[in-house]
């Protein structure tokens, strides 16, 4: 039971994405990543945007859809151990504000990337595949689904 805690929240991970300032931090983080990539001297702007999109989607996939459980012990007897952070958010309630925000941000990043790469075919294919890897796990139908047994335990 929540010994040593000041609240009766069973899994604090569910509330992290609703905390004050985290959306802003997230957007600033993407901006920082973009500026770092822009400062590499020999890459062109379209490549930088594609790299931003790819790295952002890869990190989002790892932290939201691959890492399972909580980095601290919870009193819920392990209910959240096999759930990714996306599935833990708001205890599995779909279409909350944070979920919508985290779905829309990669899409907006995709639009910007498509614009700045001038809709080049190779960039388009790469960016679309990357966007799909990050959008499909967010669908409500994919809650708790593990394809081919990957990442099951």
């Amino acid at each position: 039971m929540n010994v040593g805690t000041a609240h009766s929240e069973v899994n604090p991970n569910t509330r992290v994405m609703n905390s004050r300032g985290i959306w802003l931090s997230y957007v600033l983080g993407i901006g920082l990543l973009h500026i770092i990539l822009l400062s590499i001297p020999f890459v062109s702007v379209p490549v930088v945007w594609t790299l931003t999109n790819l790295i952002h989607n890869m990190c989002m996939y790892i932290f939201l859809h691959t890492v399972k459980g909580t980095p601290f012990e919870t009193p819920d007897q392990g209910k959240a151990r096999l759930l990714t952070h996306w599935e833990q958010m708001d205890y599995g309630v779909q279409f909350t504000a944070s979920r919508k925000f985290l779905t829309i941000t990669p899409i907006i990043l995709y639009f910007l990337t498509s614009f700045y790469t001038k809709y080049d075919r190779v960039h388009f294919v790469i960016n679309t595949i990357s966007l799909l890897t990050v959008l499909i796990p967010k669908l409500p139908q994919f809650h708790g689904v593990r394809l081919f047994g990957i990442n099951k335990y």
Binding site: S8, R20, G21, L24, S25, F72, E73
Partner: protein, 558 residues
């Protein structure tokens, strides 16, 4: 009296129920309407609008986290996470020595015994600042205490005692509200006397042969102190909650518990098997909505009426320093015919003009609260808990409480300590010591809070609560604050995630009647110094001087 004003409010509202406005819009029947506009800068900072129920100003403030601080806090946690992963990698590849429990080589192919990721936080964040907790104390935890000095050769994984003792560390962390944690004086002498007479152990449970005459005397005294018919005492405060709530509610009952209720209440509620619904902290609109929903819809599938609805609240919430809105809770409980369980662990002896707790603080009638629970650990300098209420209720608990049947009863010297200190507070020992201590506590509280506010720290909670949480926010500052305060000879308690929400880590001070003005001044100067060093003065309200960035701009304009 407040009873009449509460019934006035209810009667007035009842007549309002029948009216509908001209255009057919039916006014909501709720007692406490949701306010349309909330100032976004602060939550809950308002003198109560339902002023009929309150006989004094109820000022609570929970200033919102500045956005820059929140972003930097997340950045801090992000950096710690990255370094945590790096260190885990180094430990896995044997570049770094691993101090944790690992499985044996032969068992590597078995199902894992230890969940690696669940200890991530403990390994990589908690261990770095572990020297702020579990500090061994080697004197009585009064206003000043002695600490054993510890050094760590390997960054907090192991500790060694140097043999030195840090003397006279100002104690800002003990729940010693009235200063009864002392080893000299009438209480200590009486407790020593009763040890000589009864011994230390009781060697039995209450129901078998552990029911001393001292226990009966204490129970009568507690009942008189609280203003209730009858009371029962238990050996352990945590066990009072966790063993008695299951005796009171069961399957088919509903428990409405506050968001920030203590672990003992949560455990008791879970053990009872009732349905638990959590309402937002101290939010009467949320509680009322839940009560209405519960009564209208009944039990989840069958829609049968609930057998009992029990509202569980605390007097003072020890992490926020907020006081429960008891007059409103009582008005709601009367309107919707629910029962009220009030846990006065921190507020008994610390609030109210006569020290009778939060009921006395608001000037309410103790018979309105069905079950009054409290502990003797905080203001009485002893250990254990009590439950007070009607005679039938307490007689029922004497038979059905797990604690009475299975747990050892309270030890005689502790019982005597409580009797003496309670008589002192009530004034029954013939001195005015109790009154003085109560007055000193409330003066200290007001002074301490006012000075911290003026310095520019963000303080949570009610202006009258002796628990003062000071916001630190960033994870590195938790460790830094604890250590810097210890360097200046002041012992504080710091708390971080996951015991608090992720960005709201804090240092919690407990003001005591045993603190003299000089001690508080020393502590405040040290806090101010550490606050300047660590840049903890985040508050945007009531600044003593101009904010430093504006003066910088001004000085550079010309």
């Amino acid at each position: 009296m407040t009873q009449n004003s509460a019934s006035k409010l209810l009667n007035r509202d009842a007549s309002q129920d029948k009216k509908t406005c001209g255009n057919g819009f039916v006014k909501s029947h709720c007692l406490f309407q949701q306010k349309r506009y909330r100032r976004p800068a602060e939550k809950n900072h308002h003198a109560s609008c339902t002023s009929l129920l309150y006989n004094k100003l109820f000022v609570e403030s929970f200033e919102e986290t500045p956005l820059l601080v929140a972003v930097l806090t997340y950045m801090g946690y992000g950096i710690l996470t990255i370094f945590g992963y790096l260190r885990d990698f180094l430990r896995d590849w044997k570049f770094e020595k691993c101090h944790l429990a690992r499985e044996r080589e032969e068992q590597k192919d078995f199902v894992p015994l230890y969940q690696d990721f669940e200890n991530f936080y403990t390994r990589n964040l908690y261990m770095r600042i572990r020297d702020n907790w579990n500090r061994p104390i080697c004197s009585v935890p009064g206003a000043k205490m002695d600490l054993v000095e510890r050094v760590t050769p390997d960054y907090n994984w192991t500790f060694e005692h140097t043999g030195k003792v840090l003397k006279d560390v100002i104690n800002m962390g003990s729940y010693n509200y009235l200063g009864f944690a002392e080893n000299s004086g009438t209480c200590a002498d009486a407790a020593a006397h009763s040890t000589v007479k009864y011994g230390v152990g009781v060697s039995s449970t209450r129901q078998e042969i552990g029911n001393l005459d001292k226990h009966e005397e204490l129970e009568k005294l507690v009942a008189r102190f609280l203003g209730v018919e009858s009371s029962m005492v238990f050996g352990m405060g945590f066990a009072t909650n966790s063993m008695n709530i299951p005796a009171l509610t069961g399957k088919g009952c509903l428990i409405l518990s506050d968001e920030l209720n203590h672990a003992s209440l949560v455990l008791g509620a879970r053990l009872s098997g009732s349905t638990i619904r959590v309402f937002k902290h101290n939010n009467m609109q949320s509680l009322e909505k839940m009560l209405r929903d519960a009564i209208v819809h009944g039990q989840p599938r069958t829609h049968r009426p609930w057998k009992k609805i029990l509202i569980v609240v605390e007097g003072i919430y020890s992490m926020e320093g907020s006081i429960v809105r008891l007059p409103e809770v009582i008005a709601l409980k009367k309107k919707y015919k629910a029962y009220l369980y009030l846990d006065e662990a921190h507020s008994i002896g610390a609030l109210g003009t006569r020290g009778r707790g939060v009921v006395d603080y608001f000037g309410l009638d103790p018979s309105d609260v069905d079950i009054m629970m409290g502990t003797f650990t905080k203001s009485f300098g002893a250990a254990g808990g009590y439950i007070g209420g009607k005679k039938e209720l307490i007689d029922y608990l004497r038979l059905h409480s797990h604690s009475a049947v299975y747990a050892t009863s309270m030890s005689p010297p502790i019982t005597q300590q409580i009797i003496t200190s309670m008589k002192c507070i009530m004034g029954k020992d013939g001195t005015t010591l109790g009154q003085e201590r109560l007055r000193q506590l409330s003066e200290n509280t007001t002074y301490f809070r006012r000075r911290l506010h003026e310095m520019g720290f963000i303080i949570y909670g009610n202006n009258d609560s002796p628990v003062v949480p000071l916001m630190l926010y960033m994870p590195a500052k938790i460790g830094a604050f604890g250590r810097e305060m210890l360097k200046r000879n002041i012992g504080t308690v710091v708390v971080g995630f996951p015991a608090t929400p992720i960005i709201e880590s804090r240092a919690r001070f407990c003001v005591s009647a045993a603190h003299t003005r000089e001690m508080l001044d020393t502590a405040l100067n040290a806090i101010s110094e550490v606050g300047d060093l660590l840049q903890l003065k985040y508050s945007r309200k009531y600044r003593g001087e101009e904010s430093s960035c504006f003066s910088y701009l001004e000085s550079h304009q010309d």
